[in-house]
Amino acid sequence: MSLCLEARQLACERDDRWLFQGLDLTIRSGEIVRIEGPNGSGKTTLLKILSGQLGDYQGELFWNGAAMKDAREHFLANLLYLGHAPGIKAGLTPLENLAWYQALSGKSNQDSDNEESRLDALANVGLAGFEDVPAGQLSAGQQRRVALARLTLTPRALWVLDEPFTAIDRYGVAALEQQLVAHAQSGGCVLVTTHHELTASPLLRRIALA
């Protein structure tokens, strides 16, 4: 498999200020692309544009050679996006939260195999024993971990992660970094913003926003 997300002459304006202009970008299988820049430089906006959430930009997006508006369904079926807000319901337990995401990925959440994989995904992020605690009672870092459990629960080729290391402890950060590298090595591709220093890796590419 190979995938390719391409942006041509991307430009975005916010409050009479150009966040970026004439940005050409190609992201392929086996890459970890880190978007860098100071606060307010448009990292999140760029990620949202690249994941097809924003419409008010100039330029073109291509997914595997096809224009994004034609390939949107295929693109979304292969995208996993984690935003600033973890997307975790405080009133539901981690297990119930994951069940919804599993169902959105097309797998029945009634199946006992799939229930097993939810438990595994939670154990992977170090939340064994917290499966049935309402997510609202978990700490910010634990809630973030619930969201990160989706990385193993619903396999997708393209990961778009906005500040995934926020509120995660040192061991969690190391494990997540390994997971990103493993994903890229197995042919996936990661697009990430973070203020955390990523360990240098041949797969890592940096893109700086002014």
């Binding site: 498999m1 097809g52 959430q53 997307g87 995401y101 169902a103 959440n109 992977n124 197995s186």
Partner: protein, 237 residues
């Protein structure tokens, strides 16, 4: 933690699975926040209780205004509960995840609206005959009242969800939401209250109920697309 990446997923079916999971999720969430579910019902009961006290306990007078009162109070109660429809999803980031789901957004938002109706419109409709007794509603119109409200509030939930989707990005969208949605509620109100009035006068109610049904059918056809488009606009802005 080895993650294996399979081949690119060609398409993502499982629409029924996703719709069902969304139904279950929203039902679970709302049943755990009972206060929010009870709010419109308590409002409905309070308003109806105050009228006989404020106007007059005279049963004849009350009976003439009862259909309109019950319908207006139920409509406002339904309106009151709309703002929270997408609000918490917006705040915790699940709304952007919903928009990024490969399934059609219209179908998923229809599931959310269905839950809203099940826990707001339907209880209002079931409660209305009880409050009708308090307003000395003439016998024989109770069933029509419940049926007209059940049909009508479904349209109200669908139409209201468009407004809720448009205003979800605004910090204080409540007033704007009412202004947007109320004009669209008027046809439902006219035919809903008309049905109960007709039942009291002994006229045929089927015409009124048929029109309510037609309004609901139209709303079911069109509203999901409008809700999906409105959510996209709110998230983009």
């Amino acid at each position: 933690m080895a993650t294996s990446v399979g081949p690119l997923l060609e398409h993502n079916g499982g629409l029924m699975i996703a719709v069902r999971a969304t139904l279950v999720r929203d039902l679970t969430l709302l049943l755990r926040r009972r206060g929010e579910v009870l709010n419109p019902l308590v409002f409905f009961a309070l308003v109806i209780t105050l009228f006989p006290i404020a106007i007059s306990p005279d049963p004849e007078l009350l009976a003439t205004i009862a259909p309109g009162l019950l319908w207006v109070a139920a409509l406002l109660a339904a309106l009151l509960s709309l703002d929270s429809l997408f609000r918490s999803d917006y705040d915790d980031g699940s709304l952007e995840q919903l928009l990024l789901a490969p399934q059609p957004l219209a179908a998923l938002s229809l599931a959310k609206v269905a839950v809203h109706w099940l826990l707001t419109g339907l209880p209002l409709a079931l409660m209305a005959p009880l409050l009708g007794i308090m307003l000395a509603l003439p016998a024989g119109s109770y069933a029509v009242l419940a049926v007209s409200l059940a049909l009508g509030t479904a349209s109200l939930s669908l139409i209201g969800a468009i407004g809720a989707a448009l205003t979800v990005g605004l910090a204080r969208g409540g007033v704007l939401l009412s202004l947007l949605v109320l004009p669209l509620y008027i046809p439902v109100l006219i035919f809903g209250a008309g049905a109960v009035q007709a039942a009291i006068l002994g006229d045929g109610v089927s015409a009124h109920l048929a029109i309510l049904g037609a309004l609901l059918a139209a709303a079911l056809m069109l509203a999901p697309w409008a809700i999906a488009a409105s959510l996209r606009i709110s998230i983009n802005g």
